[in-house]
Amino acid sequence: MSYVVKEALAGFRRTKGMGLISVGTTAVSLVVFGGLLLILLSLYGLIDQVKSRVQIEIYLSDAATREQILELEKRLKAMPEVKKLLYVDKEMAAAEFEKTFGEGFLDAISQNPLPASLKVTLTSGYRSSEKIAAIIKAVEKEKAVEEIEYGRKWVEKLDRLIYILSFVAVLVTLVIGAASVFVISNTVNLTILARRDSIEIMRLVGATDSFIRAPFLLEGIIGGSLGGSIAAALLYFVHRWLSLRFPSLSLVPGAELAAWLMIPLGMALGGLGSRLAIRRILRHLP
């Protein structure tokens, strides 16, 4: 065991710059990969935030009784989609109208024409047009309901954006992920290839494949975790700086987690890269 650790650490010294290049490549690849992931996550957050402004306005009929309105409220509150419910009575509606359009308009009419309404705020995750349609369907037949309105065009546009974004996210993850694996495994391959002679000699003096492999694997994992840590720290601080500097961006909470994810990812990539490289060499030796 101590041999494996000693050899793995010595490996960095022996390959000199190569080990550093390997670590650097891993870090750069993971910064690109993680950065894109964070940007995508933030866009998701941004869109969700925009959608949170989407409200369903249920206009109540003037003839609705107190009981009917309470019944409607009860039904809406029972739905998981509904986050907040605000009752606006006729007087409040009028006041709001006057605030927007100026006093005097309503004075001309003897009777207040504005209906009372329920403003429904939606739970995050339920802000798609289908969910909204479902809510509307559930309550539109209620006696108290006169009319239901919501920013349909907006919601549909945002839905489409989310759809496209998801597609891009999958594509980016695959393409950049594959590119990272390729670049990292190739760099690791170079550092191991440089020690091909040593590996051959080890075989000739009676080392088993697993004995030869172990230090290289550990070396790859250490290198990968170093690269991953650099990437994680960089992403974390940039992310933090951005969210402090531009609080309105309201980057997704927990996005830092995506940054820290680069450490295990680096380890896995480093280990895997080493494993593949060493196998390629061992297979071609007598």
């Binding site: 002679d197 000739l204 003096v205 009676g206 088993t208």
Partner: protein, 215 residues
């Protein structure tokens, strides 16, 4: 016991060995004598299972080239010492670690390893160079490191490929004496050389090889 049975070795279109049969008994000291390019190294490499015969078979104790599993080859190599013609030292570690490596692969204890390596290095007259890197050593010194590594496991057989090739007269006679002492203690020695003088002065059996054939 070492045995080769009607062994042919071809590489590409060239026939390196042709119908080679030989046998070396336990405890014997045998010279494999032939000019450059005769196939001496190839014979030793085949016995060390670094290469496989194209035809025929090679046997070393219980290991037979036609039946051996590749995972058993490392075990065999730990029990047979090979002195490589081109030394095959690990450039990336010092002399002590080079010799220690042959013990390291067997999982030997640290203390035992240290003692054995120092003993063996002293035996070949290199104790004082243990912290040097291979590139800092002369050809003859590197050759003696290779010899020390072959001996450190206390092998039952030694395959020596021109072990005196890069040594001056004095060092050569020292190493030859070392090999003869080991042989006295029971180690089988098969030594490839092109030095006919050795054969004339020493009472050992001699296998003559030329152009891939044994005479």
């Amino acid at each position: 016991m070492i045995q080769m049975h009607h062994v042919y070795k071809t590489v590409g279109n060239t026939t390196v060995l042709e119908d080679v049969s030989l046998q070396v008994e336990k405890g014997e000291f045998v010279f494999l004598l032939g000019p450059s390019g005769a196939g001496k190294s190839t014979v030793l490499r085949l016995i060390h299972f670094d290469e496989r015969p194209t035809q025929g078979w090679v046997r070393l104790e219980d290991y037979n080239s036609s039946t051996i599993k590749s995972r058993h080859i490392p075990l065999l190599r730990r029990r047979v010492g090979m002195i490589f013609q081109d030394f095959k030292l690990l450039r990336d570690r010092n002399i002590f670690d080079n010799v220690a490596f042959a013990l390291e692969v067997t999982g030997a204890k640290k203390a035992l390893m240290k003692r054995r390596v120092l003993q063996t290095l002293t035996l070949v007259g290199l104790g004082h160079l243990r912290n040097m890197m291979p590139v800092q050593l002369s050809g003859g010194e590197q050759q003696r490191v290779s010899i020390a590594r072959a001996l450190v496991n206390q092998p039952f057989a030694l395959l020596a490929d021109e072990p005196l090739g890069d040594l001056d007269k004095e060092a050569a006679s020292d190493i030859l004496q070392l090999l003869r002492d080991l042989n006295h203690q029971g180690t089988t020695v098969l030594m490839a050389t092109h030095d006919t003088e050795l054969m004339e002065t020493l009472p050992y059996r001699c296998l003559m090889i030329e152009k891939g054939k044994i005479f």
